[in-house]
């Protein structure tokens, strides 16, 4: 009796049913029937079972080809792996904690351990661009077996042959950098891939062309008048207006001018006064959003010229209208005109930090770190040593800076425990506040903050202290790398 006999004679009968297809005890199977006739079928069952159990598991004919990813980043040290997973799995952690970690990974050029990627999947998917090539591959992988092989690049490794395969943020940054060196060549790169991009990508790439905008861009921008995406058309029109010097034709500027009322005041010296009239349909709580939307696409220079005022005069004329000052602060930030912002925040709009915070997250675009810190200092300075105890304001600043806040802000509140104590007692602040403080703390002040946090009850610092540990560890590994 052998396996073949069992599989050809016994197996079909066992599957179909011996009532329908009786077992034929022919050939080698005769010995089964001769032994114990009553149990012959059961014995055949047991023997067939054993025959099947000894079948070896054969591999499929083909296997998928796995991409080779050369990720040169250092891996997060082992002692920090469990705390990282624990932090990211903690249900009550804030988005600020995740952002602080992602940005720290990006800055220090460290990556999570590949084995941890499935355990922190949601975090990796949300912040893959900061976590290195392996994480990007992980985030982009599809459960579908037909997932296409894709290429992943570190921002520094991008060139004109590979840039189109990188993530959108990396591509936009690459184009902006390339524009500084050779504006025409950068535009040619964008033109080459333009037709295949979706609306979001087209907007981002077009925004990158703002760097080094010049007359030679005009034909390309004119061609965008029929683009399917309204945002692309509007942005192209704005750029065109800037190139041709006919800014007044910009629809965004027109929309702003329609809402600004101009008057003159003063008995002896006539002064121009400007006031912003919100549309009747915009409710109070929607005002900040409307201001951002309306003034977001106009520059201070354009508005001043349209109103036939200098930029300083424009700020002076808007001094009594908080909403217009806020609009000017938004425009000054967008134009990277920190001198104008200083004039606004240092003058009438002392709470520019909180006001801007209510308009939504500020995209500081390609602003370098030092400039971002200066921008934040301008907003912080009017508060002196008493920053607002508003979680949303701090969180907004953190997200806008994409990193720690200036020492100017943190040092006074860490050196004296009074501010944090007040926060706990008056605001009933919980662990999320401590977490945020750990997330925004500048590197140099972390030891001081740790001392402060360690004096608090453990439940308050359950996530803040491990976050500090991981951020420190990332800094060390990153420093070692340099």
């Amino acid at each position: 009796m052998n396996i073949t006999t069992l599989k050809t004679h016994a197996l079909p009968a066992l599957l179909a049913g011996t009532g329908r297809q009786p077992l034929s005890f022919a050939g080698d199977l005769v010995e089964l029937a001769s032994g114990d006739a009553a149990n012959a079928a059961l014995n055949a069952l047991s023997l067939t079972a054993q025959a099947l159990r000894f079948e070896r598991p054969l591999p499929p004919e083909t296997f998928n080809a796995e991409p080779e990813i050369h990720d040169d980043r250092h891996i997060l040290p082992d002692p920090m792996r469990r705390p990282l997973i624990r932090l990211l799995k903690e249900k009550r952690t804030s988005d600020d904690l995740e952002l602080a970690l992602a940005w720290a990974f990006g800055r220090s050029k460290v990556r999570p351990h590949p084995f941890d990627l499935p355990r922190i999947d949601a975090f990796v998917r949300a912040h893959a661009e900061h976590l290195g090539l392996t994480a990007q591959h992980w985030a982009a992988r599809e459960n579908d077996s037909t997932a296409q092989t894709q290429s992943y690049f570190e921002a520094e490794a991008l060139d004109e042959t590979t840039w189109a395969k990188a993530s959108l943020a990396q591509r936009a940054n690459f184009i902006a950098d390339r524009r500084k060196e050779d504006a025409a060549a950068a535009r040619a790169l964008v033109e080459a891939i333009w037709a295949q991009e979706n609306a979001e990508a087209r907007v981002r790439l077009l925004m990158a062309l703002e760097t080094g905008l010049n007359v030679s861009d005009q034909p390309f921008l004119e061609g965008l008048a029929k683009d399917r995406a309204p945002r692309v058309r509007s942005l192209a029109q704005r750029f065109l207006a800037r190139i041709t010097g006919n800014a007044a034709e910009s629809p965004a500027l027109k929309a702003c001018l329609e809402r600004i009322r101009r008057s003159t005041t003063g008995l002896l010296k006539k002064r121009t006064t400007l006031a912003l009239e919100l549309p009747a349909t915009v409710k109070e709580h929607e005002a900040k959003g409307w201001i951002r939307k309306t003034f977001g696409e106009v520059s201070c220079d354009e508005l001043a010229r349209a109103l036939e005022l200098t930029e300083s005069a424009l700020i002076e004329a808007a001094a009594k209208d908080e909403n217009l000052l806020l609009a000017l602060a938004l425009m000054a930030t967008q134009d990277r005109r920190l001198d104008l912002l200083e004039e606004i925040a240092g003058g009438q709009l002392k709470d520019a930090w909180e006001q801007l915070g209510r308009c939504g997250v500020q995209d500081l675009g390609l602003m370098p770190v030092e400039e971002r810190l200066r921008w934040a200092e301008i907003l912080i300075r009017p508060y002196s040593a008493k920053p607002p105890a508003s979680y949303s304001a701090w969180s907004w600043l953190h997200r806008s800076l994409e990193g720690p806040v200036p020492e100017l802000l943190m040092e006074p509140i860490i050196r004296s425990s009074r501010w944090i104590t007040g926060l706990l007692e008056e605001q009933k602040a919980g662990s999320e506040w401590m977490e945020l403080l750990a997330a925004v703390c500048p590197i140099s002040l972390r030891p001081l903050l740790r001392t402060q946090l360690e004096s608090l009850d453990a439940p308050l610092t359950m996530t803040a202290l491990p976050l500090l540990d991981i951020l420190e560890s990332l800094k060390k590994v990153g420093h070692h790398e340099q």
Partner: protein, 477 residues
């Protein structure tokens, strides 16, 4: 064992218990915290009542006891005490073990009972120490004979009941064969439940559990494989029945290990006490590493906790061992207290078997120590590892799960299915499919050309438990 946050996480029955424990991490909640310096810590936690709850934890094996009425195990107080110990921020004063702690230690059945209790022998109350003579009780020969006869009678009655149940089972399997096994899986739920209940009545609880779990096992497989799997499962059951019947008729001279396997598979359980008292049982003192900790809820609402151990010390003894515990699901306990990677120095006593695998800890010589060391896995291709499974099946044909270790393997993907293969293309083609539940967790291993691994093969799927790579250890947790 130095308690760690990982232990606390692993032991916690759910997230809410951890959250509740976190709130007790204030020094103010613990009027008393102490330790005996040799692995026992205890404390009093101020709850809402006037009397604080008394909590004790054994660091040796993460055993615990709390006087609170919570129905979660461990409760938030026990978790908080372990957490405080892991944090190391609060001081545990070294103190004499109070009576209530001693009482718990002396009543413990776990592996740490011996070591913890022996550490406290000096202060423990002893009847002998009272000096009074204990009157010697003379055994009554007549009473002993009566009870032996009663035991014999009960055993015989049970044997008869089991044999009658096996006759029913044969008939049931014959009925299934008559109908054909191609469609058996689809209707297996109700039909298996009925025969399982009859086998419970017949006191063949092992077979009953096997049949009760059969539908779940079949449905965990791809539809195309289910008919063949049904043949294998029912064929094995008949094989067991036939072996037991022959044993009972005294026809077969099966090796003693295999006899024990057959009886255990039918439902003749061996208690821990009997096993420890058995002078012939295989005993091995060695350093063991925890390579897998599995938890599975059974149909009878018991959670089966398996702790798989790898013997590190080179000696003639089984290479693998598995500790199996059963706890009611309602308690919420989901961990045996050991974490993957832990190293223990212990004497294991193995249940008699043709393939000694299941064991009990007879004595612990040290607490579990967490270790990141790699295992020195013997140089063995996947093909050789698979041959060890085949040899094991020859020795015990109804083998369920077999631990395999291999070196130089490689993980590969076909669609959304992962396979472990030999990295050496010249080897005979063999590929062990991984459970689909491991797809996401094991995917990062695809990028390694060579893996040294330990897994549990159940004939259909490999449960990858431990993998050593150039980037360190991967575990299935």
């Amino acid at each position: 064992m130095a308690l760690s946050h990982n232990n606390v996480e692993a032991l916690a029955p759910d997230q809410s218990s951890l959250d509740a424990a976190r709130k007790l991490l204030k020094a103010a909640s613990w009027p008393a915290l102490a330790s005996n310096g040799t692995g026992l810590i205890w404390g009093e936690c101020q709850g809402s009542g006037s009397t604080p709850y008394r909590v004790v934890v054994s660091e040796v094996d993460a055993g615990y006891k709390c006087s609170c009425p919570s129905r979660k195990f461990p409760c938030k107080h026990s978790l908080a005490l372990m957490w405080l110990r892991a944090d190391g921020k609060l001081t545990f004063a070294v103190a004499t073990v109070p009576a209530w702690v001693n009482d718990w230690v002396s009543r413990r059945r776990g592996p740490s009972a011996a070591s913890s209790a022996s550490a406290e022998n000096g202060s423990k109350a002893s009847i002998k120490a009272t000096g009074s003579a204990i009157p010697e009780i003379k055994p009554d020969p007549k009473a002993e004979a009566r009870s032996a006869a009663a035991r014999e009678r009960n055993s015989r009655e049970r044997e008869d009941a089991v044999l009658a149940g096996l006759d029913d089972l044969d008939l049931w399997i014959s009925d299934q064969l008559d109908r054909g096994l191609a469609g058996f899986a689809a209707q297996s739920g109700p039909v298996c439940r009925v025969i399982a209940q009859r086998l419970v009545d017949a006191k063949a609880s092992g077979l009953a559990a096997r049949l009760e779990g059969l539908p779940a096992r079949l449905f965990s497989l791809p539809e195309a494989v289910r008919p063949a799997a049904a043949i294998q499962e029912l064929g094995l059951i008949h094989l067991l029945v036939a072996a037991y019947r022959r044993l009972n008729e005294g026809q077969d001279a099966l090796p003693s290990g295999l006899k024990a396997d057959v009886r255990q598979a039918i439902g003749w359980a061996l208690t821990r006490e009997s096993l420890l008292a058995d002078p012939d049982a295989t005993r091995t003192r060695a350093r063991w590493r925890v390579v897998a900790a599995l938890s599975e809820v059974q149909a009878d609402r018991l959670r089966r906790l398996e702790t798989w151990l790898w013997r590190e010390t080179e000696q003639e003894a089984p290479r693998f061992a598995v500790l199996i515990d059963f706890v009611p699901v309602a308690t919420g306990a989901a961990s045996s207290g050991y974490s993957v990677g832990d190293r223990i120095d212990a004497e294991l006593v193995f249940y008699p078997s043709a393939l000694p695998l299941r064991a009990q800890i007879a004595q612990s010589f040290s607490g579990a120590e967490s270790s990141e060391d790699a295992l020195a896995l013997p140089d063995r291709r996947l093909q050789d590892a698979y041959q060890s499974y085949e040899r094991a099946m020859i020795r015990q044909p109804w083998l369920d799960v077999w631990p395999v270790s291999m070196t130089g393997a490689r993980l590969r993907r076909h669609g959304s299915q992962l396979f472990l293969c030999d990295s050496d293309e010249a080897s005979a083609p063999i590929a062990l499919a991984l459970k689909s539940a491991q797809y996401s967790l094991a995917t990062p291993l695809l990028s390694f050309a060579k893996l040294d691994a330990i897994g549990l093969w159940d004939g259909y799927y490999l449960n990858l438990c431990w993998v050593q790579t150039e980037l360190g250890r991967w575990v299935n947790v």
